[in-house]
Symmetry: C2
């Protein structure tokens, strides 16, 4: 399995460089479980989804705490057939995939309910793309049922789904949607945008 | 067919609201061929790909001309089976899909070569997701051959492809990649990030 994300942070401020550099320290607790490379467009993080999502959460929250309107975009991928297996990508946690679909919906919801509350309100929109064969529509409908009852669901939009709430449960919802459904070893991609401190929400 | 994009503009400036509002006027020449709805996370543009891409190009260039480091993200989709057919989405131009794959690669490249030069240097990274059945791998390899010889190709990255050059040919490359390959009526999604005036590039 190979999994990772191309992540970009966008603080809408003249001091965007300072805010980004200030936030990067929040990745330190995750660095031994991720491989990180930065270029002018994004930062590549290679590692298992159950490390990627909390690491992206901490990075985003560190920037959002500046109070500046900040967004983050990530292209997340697992199981891409063109990428080599990498031991750093072995998942370490999460509900067992041996459960029935209904039990998995319940188990993912339970994980979200115990997510830490970080006192940082965020909005998210994301699209989940199951690629190639092996992703039964039952799995997708199970994921949708999970999202709608996750406690973080805001609404369906054209081409994507919007979530809203505290950063802890919202990022856990993304993580469970990405790991809990679809073929276990199948190719799955996610296009996710996170926003905080938007003047449109005031 | 239903096609459209969720588009977000991110000027990294204290005056981000002013720059965004100032750029929106650049959509005026396209408004009769698009349906546009805005919320706090993104602007939905519904219309055919051959209008969507130049409209996004003009919106981005208008913001980038502020000189501020600006990025734009779009989730672009065509042929999503859950969306209703919409007459506004009927494509109006582009090389015929009756050509052979090799002829289409050549035709798409010729369209890019005649794109207007807008004197705005941009960097792009994007992922193209063919969903469901009907997208033969031959089509994907044809698209890759087109990209590598488009004149705008920068490099392959994990999970995405990077382009670089003038906004005219670069957006035309995205448009041709999105419309020229894959099943004509199939479901195709694109996750694209555009950047200009990055201090990392200076």
């Amino acid at each position: 399995m190979f999994s990772g994300a191309q992540v970009s942070l966008y603080p809408m401020s003249d001091d965007f460089v300072g805010i980004i550099l200030g936030a990067i320290g929040s990745l330190d607790p995750w660095r031994d479980r991720l491989r990180i490379e930065t270029d002018s467009l994004s930062t590549l993080m290679v590692g298992p989804p159950d490390v990627l999502f909390p690491a992206m959460r901490d990075l985003f929250c560190a920037a959002a705490r500046s109070g500046v309107h900040t967004t983050m975009h990530a292209t997340v991928s697992r199981g891409c057939p063109g990428e080599p297996d990498d031991p750093i990508c072995t998942p370490v946690a999460g509900p067992s995939r041996d459960l029935s679909l209904a039990e998995r919906v319940e188990a993912c919801r339970a994980v979200v309910a115990t997510a830490p509350v970080l006192e940082q309100e965020i909005s998210v929109q994301f699209s989940l793309y199951p690629l190639g064969v092996g992703h039964h529509m039952d799995e997708i409908y199970g994921c949708i049922e999970f999202l709608k009852t996750s406690g973080t669901f805001l609404r369906s939009k054209n081409f994507c789904t919007a979530l809203r709430g505290d950063a802890g449960p919202v990022f856990e919802t993304l993580s469970q949607a990405f790991t809990g459904f679809g073929a276990t070893a199948g190719h799955l991609a996610m296009d996710v945008t996170v926003s905080a401190n938007s003047p449109s929400d005031r």
